[in-house]
Amino acid sequence: MADSKKEATEVIDPAVAAFIEEDAKRKAELEEAKAKDFEKPYDTEALLEVRHLRKCFPLQKSLLGKVQRELVAVDDVSFKLNAGETLGIVGESGCGKTTLGRAILKLHEPTGGRIIFNGEDITDFNVKQMRKNRTEMQIIFQDPYSSLPPRSTVGDILSEPVKVHKIVPDSEVKDYVMDLMEKCGLRDYYYERYPHEFSGGQRQRICIARALSVKPKLVICDEPVSALDVSIQAQNINLLKDLQKSMNLAYVFISHDLSVVKFISDKIGVMYLGSMVEFGNKKDIFSNPIHPYTKALFSAIPNPNPDVKMNRIVLNGDIPSPANPPKGCRFHTRCPNATEKCKYVTPEYREYEPGHFAACHLCEEEFSKK
């Protein structure tokens, strides 16, 4: 805050000064609201609730080990997810999707905010306390090539977690694994084979089976089909959807491919430079996107029909560095609708329709007119 005051004296334009003041005021209000938010009771219906989650990575440390500069990879992200639902996270590379996914699993220690899983605040759990949750929360990685141990057979890879977490009695492990393999579209003779003998799509199925072997409730899928070919992609997306139905799984599905996300998700979150800029039900987001970035993102998808003339919103410029994000609205350097205000005042993340959130001054104005 001291910073912005100093700048205000340098700037002559009174309009700008007013904006800076407004921003400071809003930020203070936001902090207050946040503090109140943390005291609210947990939603007992939601399987996963994330409140104002923040994750920073240190960039520079002083000699004494004090952090001097940091990169805010995830900034103030909040959402709820019910059992059996899919939340799709979209956004450009480096916008913090993976970091968000890993922070939810506490594979990254969150810097701020709360994670409530199954009615329990797990934010401050230690490793021992997390062990129980480990079986209920699983992750599938993007790269099916490096995430499987090369020297173990498929059978060993799938049996190990079942034994460690005592999912079924030892005598039933093999039957359990065989059954799981069948569900995941893996033939039974794969049991004695090694990962390198399989194609990318089959390896991804092994990863899926491994994640599901411990009967999780929530699976974070980080770009689970991006490394696969189109025709193999479709096989695995269908598999994920079938398994969701039969095992009542909740997915956080991270992808940069909007058409895949649209196909699999119930809710969608759009991220830009670490923040959630729009969040809502799939229907609302696709039929009525309200944030300019979401609109641009949708219009940028190439349409596989040569007759449709594209009416594209072309964004100028490159994605700014997350180590040094723009002031005010982070999207203002590329937004076709940006105004002077956007350069200084951070827009508030607000609910515009039931369950449909966005952070943009333009939406704020439009809705206040209504």
Binding site: Y189, D229, S231, V260, L297, P302, P304, L315
Partner: protein, 424 residues
């Protein structure tokens, strides 16, 4: 079940060391012969040829490009034929590993030897080069000096580079010795790669690298001319601060900017053909949109052709005039963009289009093609798609289907479209 296990065992995945030695011995014989041909001294008449159709800039005919590995011969490109007409964009689609990049590497003669070799086939390119005098020097274009009435001076281009007389020749790239390839590569055909960082040198500034290309292309250009041309090109690809980028090192630029620099580098030589191998796969959708707009705009401005390789049917629909669909090293269907999208005929093309979730579909399950691409070392003798095809008929267990013409521009290789089309 046990039966299935046994058949699996007999189709083993490991070769014995004896078998590997035998393969290696056989391979080294063939590789040696092909390497010898590659490094031979040849007179021009050995690789000058004629085009089948004068409208084309590139004609690929029955190209076979193999990799001689110790596991066996990988027939990465196994009899590919297609043409690239002047001033058009030809899109090549197909699954990863189907030979798209190997086809483009063959055209550029960038295959990694001695394993990677063009085994047979021709790649005819309509080349336009400096006309040379008996001593092999380029012949300058002379114009009357504006000041003196009688003196003649060499003509210059808009950026001030001296001009020379040009002539057209058709060259068979597959037959050229590697020492001659500089006449084409990076001068008349340039390439844009998927990962721009790997093709930019990290220790030189962008300006250094661009100027270098200008000097190669226009002999006799001065440093100032080179810089002028480089800045012009950076501006052409939509870089807002060309002077700043000119003085930057590659790592100081973002992915989108690096890709623009690569494109400007590919354009410096006024190429007649640009090969873009997955030019936007490493980029985000919004940056991808910028680059696609740029490429489309450039094709008309430089009056050239583009060979666009991608696995994204959406990009093809937007950019291409003609489409070539590849599967396991072969072309299985080709036609105009509207033929391929409105009247796809090969079961693989049809499946490919159906398996991509679209933004306006609302169905509950995605169509998918079961199974995988066959092992590239042991290709079957029947249709390569047979194990995954749902429309398979009796004939499909026989020979590999030939190419059938269904319209002046539409071809398909599938037994479903047999005699009646041929006759009718």
């Amino acid at each position: 079940m046990s039966n299935e296990k046994n058949t699996e065992k007999t189709q083993k995945h490991y070769l014995t060391s004896k078998e590997i030695k035998a393969i290696a011995k056989e391979n080294s014989k063939v590789m040696k012969a092909l390497e010898k041909k590659k490094y031979r001294k040849a007179v021009e008449s050995e690789f000058v040829t004629t085009m089948k159709d004068d409208k084309n800039i590139l004609e690929i005919e029955d190209l076979h490009t193999y990799f001689f590995t110790d596991q066996g011969v990988v027939k990465a490109v196994n009899g590919v034929s297609f043409n690239i007409p002047k001033n058009s964009t030809v899109g090549i689609v197909g699954e990863s590993g189907c030979g798209k990049s190997v086809t483009s590497m063959s055209v550029m003669r960038l295959l990694q030897g001695p394993q990677g070799q063009i085994y047979s086939g021709s790649i005819r390119f309509k080349s336009e080069e400096f006309k040379r005098d008996a001593k092999g020097n380029p012949i300058p274009v002379f114009v009357k000096d504006e000041n003196g009435a009688d003196t003649q001076v060499q003509a210059t281009s808009s950026s001030g580079a001296p001009l020379f007389e040009m002539e057209e020749k058709v060259l068979d790239i597959a037959e050229m010795p590697i020492s001659e390839i500089h006449r084409i590569r990076g001068r008349q055909i340039s390439m844009i790669f998927q990962e721009p960082m790997t093709s930019l040198n990290p220790v030189f500034t962008i300006g250094n690298q661009l100027d270098e290309v200008v000097f190669i292309h226009s002999p006799g250009a001065t440093k100032e001319m080179a810089k002028k041309r480089s800045l012009e090109m950076l501006e052409l690809v939509g870089i807002a601060a060309p002077e700043r980028v000119y003085n930057s090192y590659p790592h100081e630029l973002s992915g989108g900017m690096r890709q623009r620099v690569m494109i400007s580098m590919a354009l410096i030589c006024d190429p007649r053909l640009i090969i873009a191998d997955e030019p936007t796969t490493a980029l985000d959708v919004t940056i991808q949109a910028q680059i696609l707009d740029l490429l489309r705009d450039l094709k008309d401005r430089i009056n050239g052709s583009i060979m666009l390789i991608t696995h994204d049917l959406g990009i093809i629909a937007e950019m291409a005039d003609y489409v070539v669909v590849m599967y396991a090293g072969r072309v299985i269907e080709q036609g105009t963009v509207s033929e391929i999208f409105h009247n796809p005929m090969h079961p693989y093309t049809i499946g490919l289009q159906k398996s991509k979730p679209t933004m306006d579909s609302d169905s509950d399950t995605l169509f998918n093609i079961p199974g995988n691409v066959p092992n590239p070392v042991n290709m079957p003798s029947h249709c390569y798609f047979k194990e995954r095809c749902s429309k398979c008929i009796g004939k499909c267990s026989g020979d590999y289907p030939g190419m059938i013409q269904v319209s002046p521009t539409h071809y398909v290789a599938c037994h479903l479209y047999g005699e009646e089309e041929k006759n009718g």
